[in-house]
Amino acid sequence: MSLWTKLLETVLPNRRSVEIEDELAFHVEMRARQLMQSGVDPDEAMRQARRQFGNSTKLAEDTRETHLLQGLSALLRDSRYALRGLWRRPLFSLTGLASLALGIGVNVAIFSVLDTLLLKPLPLADASLVMAFVESRNGETTNGNPARMRDYRENLRTLKAVGGYYGDGLVLAGTDGPTRLNALRTVGDVISVLGHTLVLGRNFTPQEQLGRANVAIISHQLWQRLFQRDASVIGKLIRSKGMAFEIIGVMPAEAALLDEVDLWIPAEADQQNTSRMAGFLTVVGRLADGVDLTKANAELATVAGQMLAANPVSDKGLAVGLKPLGEVLAGEARQPVLLLMGVAITILLLACVNLAGLLLARNAERAQEAAIRMAIGAGRAALVRLFLLEAVWLAIPGGMLGLLVGEWSFALLKAMLPAETPLIAAMRVDGRAAIFALLLTVFCAIAIGLLPAFEASRVMPRGAIGARSALLRSALVVGQIAVSLTLLVSAGVLTHRLLEARQRSFGFQPDHVLALSFDISWDTDKAKLHQFYTQAADAVRLMPGVISVGLVDRLPLGGGAQSAGYLRIRGMELPETQARQQYGFRAVSADYFTTLRIPLMKGRVFGEPQGDRTPREILINETFAQRYFAGIDPVGRVISYRDAVKEPLWFEVTGVVKDVPVSPGDIRPRPEVFVHFTNTYWAPATLVARVNGDAAIMTTAVRKRIADIDPYVLIRRGGSVDSQVELAWTKPKLLAKLTGGLSLASLLLACLGLYGILAGFVKARTKEFGIRLALGATPWSLQQLSLRQGIFLALIGIIVGGFLAVPVLRLIAAQVPGGEANDPMAFSIAAILLFFTALVACYAPVRRVAKLDAIEVLRHE
């Protein structure tokens, strides 16, 4: 019999089993008739006949029911048995349900990302026809430029339309402060290539495409946000920094799924005439009717050859090919997402194998029931069906819960994906994900039910195959314990570090301080910028409730600082390695230190600018002083942080300030220097103010004040420093929680697996134990024997896990700096916790040994 017919026969009640029910019913009926003939009344006769038939079994009841519903009822009855069996073992059922829901949920979440990224067509008309030009120069991928784009457009017959685009930003002034708009600058007819149909207005004319007119097509979202979907929006103007763009059209809603674009504007004329060497343009094309990719690529190869002949210098080493746009967008995200999916499927599979092992172990408890069922002619198929149904009834609610868990974990996953992940706006848990969940549910049901079902249906009970599968399961359990230990240790180390870091003082006082970070274009004129900062700081300082105002390029705890180049100390010969050692660098104003209350340990703060000149003075922190001026007074020394290739630029050290950690998890202080921002190329971007009262509330007023000074300055982030410090903790906190949750789930699975193996072990040796008991062995000695098996597996797992944890911890140390990579305390706690949990898991099956009655066991066989 093939596997399939076997499976089908098991799941669907076949003709044979219906016949059996019929036959048995006939028997009971005949018996009743006989009783009636001897004078018993009909009801009583039927009852007696049934009682006599079933005797010790309750199953006769169900035989009657089978009469009513024939085939379906057999399935229902078995389902009821399966459900009753699950109900009777709440611990098993709940853990099974939880691990399935988690396993399926995580898979659904990852699938939703993968689906949008790799499987679904792009939200474009005839998306399969939209191709991207993938260009590379000497093997390195490069973007295109308008000159080459025009060559493609004019020479390729296999493409209907060719266009290019690049991202740009606009700042929009408004009553609530300025906002940033994401613009897509277009070259050629990109909108036709992408196949968007405007919901309002028109596409750019060929003349407008050349970039000489200030026209814009806005996104559906922007239309909604700024104009409340007013149809008279066409012809209105969008203003940004002295420029005004006339709105000529509105994009359809789905256009935003590709990328979060607020408006489409033709690239400026001079951008459209950059050199053939430039690389900033994404070039796309739409295949002409009836043309396939191979044909288009063949033509492109010819055209590229002609282009090289015509431009031997600029096009040298250039290679180009067409690829579906979706594939190109998925690009780098593809590999990690596939990897993630693989890991998730493996976890789910492990969960299934464990549950299967548990069901298998329960064969022991089932022996009696199986015997009775066989006795009334249930046959093996019915037994197999029962096991499969049990798996099905575990998998169905597991799958439904999994969909819910999937929804939650998807939100979490999406939040953790980098913002520049392609198509992120289009990702959602949808009907396709639900279908995937259904498939997973079926898969789980089969994976869980198959092994016990076949075991139950095997003609020869427990042969050599059993031994091999036992070995495999032992290996799985060892692996799971190892993984659990690794995760537990990781969670422990992370938590330990978090606690440690939180107890430490920051070296500054974050309370009652607000911070505003400005989003300023890198090419802003330096003099203007300094003027803005000085103006802003002065204005805020005069506001009521403000105590002091400072400026800094990056807040401490914001993660990282700029690092300075080559260190030179006048009158001191530094070894090359020491001169090149990394140290932090911050551009600040003098009152930054007083505002954050960073204590000055020695000397004084550098001087403020006087007119156009700022004194060349520098502050260092304690760690810097210890590293380079150990035992010497650094105040008055002269140093230069300029690159080695440049002439030194000397700064006098005026004082030493206390260390401030760079990021929340960072225990080791970093050496740092501070100079006045007017002395640097880098501009500060954050204004900090110490206020009386609530810093968060004060922020709104300060924002307004800044907007009065310059309505086009974007504020990237604003709020109390307290809340920003709290924010800095979110990632390590999330990481610790995630690892903790995973380790618990893994621990649970490992325990289930261990329980399953030991239960199987005890079951297989029940007869032997009975003989031993009869020969005078104490139950405790037999329990020890069984326990030893479990302890052995647990210990191997812990040892393997110990080795596994070392590289993982190193990885964590790199992610969350601070403390030693080796954390013996976390290690021992995890190992002890794991060991005792394993003992508990072993105890349940071993307890059964104590209850064995030698005589009963032997008679049983």
Partner: protein, 110 residues
């Protein structure tokens, strides 16, 4: 539940079943009736043993089953002996004879 005295000895059920249907096909209930009546109620067949035995014998190819209609017009499954089964019946009868004569001889000495 205590086992009744007239339980059929392990291993003899096959012999009795084969013998019961050796003359004419019978349904399961008919087999129990036949054994009870022929033994003058000394032997009783447990249904829980009979049906598994019937299916086992059918799988071994000693008996064949067929749906038929009883005198009371009720659908029932009738069992009959196959050629293979007849051979088996002869073998079982021979071995039963050996067993009983052996046991009898031993008992005579006691």
């Amino acid at each position: 539940m205590a086992k009744s005295k007239n339980d059929i000895l392990q291993g003899t059920l096959t012999l009795l079943v084969l013998q019961a249907i050796s003359k004419t096909p019978l349904h399961g209930y008919g087999i129990t009736l036949f054994i009870e009546q022929a033994s003058e109620d000394l032997l009783r067949v447990e249904e829980g043993s009979l049906y598994p035995a019937l299916h086992r014998l059918e799988e071994q190819g000693w008996i064949a089953a067929e749906w038929g209609v009883t005198e009371t017009n009720r659908r029932a499954r009738f069992y009959s002996l196959t050629a293979e089964g007849r051979k088996q019946l002869d073998a079982e009868l021979a071995s039963w004879d050996r067993l009983t004569s052996g046991v009898t001889k031993v008992l005579r000495f006691a």
